[in-house]
Amino acid sequence: MEKPKLKTTNNKGETVIAIKGLHKSFGKLEVLKGIDLTVGRGENVAVLGKSGSGKSVLIKIIVGLLKPDRGTLNVLEKEVEQLNGKELDELRLRIGFSFQGSALYDSMSVFQNLAFPLIMNVKHLPKKEVEAAVEEALEAVGLKDKAERMPAELSGGQRKRIGIARALILKPEIMLYDEPTAGLDPITSAEINELINEVQEKYNTSSIIITHDLTCAKNTCNRIVMLVEGKFLPSGKFEEIFKTDNQQVKDFFNYNFIQ
């Protein structure tokens, strides 16, 4: 599968996420032990790591769902920890978050799911505009005909895509994908990879993509970092990471491309 060359690393110098020395533990369990990460505008970064290594915790800290114990966290030039409720909400509107389990509101139809963040955040938005925005987002993920369905009536892959559409509806500058292809068949995974690339090209978003899926990482990301035992291994392009001596990284690759 050839990936279209990513051309959107313009305004390269600008950093949208800067994390330095981030620590997080739950009780006695130390999950993150000093994470450093910078993401530039228009850049896609893949975070690899085995299950339970703290990948989800990391992106939840980025949107302020969890509080770090130590370290600095700068997102879109704001110190996340120092923001009050309102400022944090403003920041969150500029970040799209696609959850590991899609997290669709299961009492609402697909349309309502997408319209909900819009209606709640934009005051007095005409109904027509809401409909247009929802249609655009559904079109972007290729599920225009599913607007009236309930989440329970969708397949896993469709739910993931609706989750991405919901994150896209507020036109975020940063997208955080939590295992977008986990548990999906190769064809659907490829579709989602394509979707991630399209999103990046269309809206020039920066993304952090959490995944175990190396094909996904290879096809969507400019850079790959690997989270091992609470720390990042040196980041690099897909091929550079591939050449490492680290046993954990090797195991990761060996499983994905049976050698």
Binding site: L65, K67, D69, R92, F99, G101, A103, Y105, M120, N121
Partner: protein, 202 residues
């Protein structure tokens, strides 16, 4: 670059947070008190959010419908049965005193003024409370609550559609009040009618 990163300048706040990781009494006792504190904070926040705008009136109406009117059948049946039992049991005694004609008033007042609110409250607490609890915890597990927070929606404020989030408690209050009146009126009419009928019947 435009972004300066302070590597080793931890704020006072962060230092204190680091310190609280130390055990004070023992791990399990500490955990217990932290749990109590968290619950306390949650309740305080809930009451704060209830009285602070924005209010979602439509959600309140929807929830009142869901919680109040959809419990009507259950409450009516309960009221009906209590009415029958009451009437059947008190009529013989009243008759001995020639006071059988007071029966409708007795039953009416006892049920509507005294038992109605208690019943409604108990049923709301039991039936509605547990369904809200179940729905909320499933929303928590499937990260729907976090999804709300991430799209800058305060989950304390907005109850999803059926039993959305924590904001629900305030809706259930509204539902309770609404229901209270409805049931009362309903029960009153019912018991009046029923008692008249029974009266004729016996």
């Amino acid at each position: 670059m435009g972004i300066k990163i302070n590597t080793n300048k931890f704020t006072k706040h962060q230092m204190i947070k680091g310190d609280t990781k130390k055990t004070v009494l023992s791990d399990s006792i500490d955990e217990y008190f932290i749990g109590v504190y968290t619950a306390y904070k949650f309740v305080i926040r809930f009451f704060k959010e209830v009285f602070v705008p924005p209010f979602h009136f439509r959600a309140v109406v929807t929830q009142s419908y869901e919680i109040g009117i959809k419990s009507l059948a259950l409450i009516s049946v309960t009221g009906f049965i209590i009415g029958i039992v009451f009437t059947k049991q008190s009529r013989p005694s009243l008759e001995d005193f020639g006071a059988a004609s007071w029966l409708p008033n007795l039953v009416g007042i006892a049920i509507i003024r005294a038992l109605g609110p208690v019943l409604t409250a108990l049923i709301c607490a039991g039936k509605v409370g547990s369904s809200i609890g179940a729905e909320l915890s499933s929303m928590k597990v499937t990260e729907q609550i976090e999804a709300m927070e991430v799209s800058a929606i305060n989950p304390f404020k907005y109850p999803g559609s059926y039993t959305g989030s924590c904001g629900h408690h305030h809706d259930s209050l509204a539902g309770n009040v609404l229901h209270f009146y409805r049931t009362n009126r309903f029960l009153y009419q019912r018991s009046r009618r029923r008692n008249d009928q029974l009266h004729h019947f016996f």
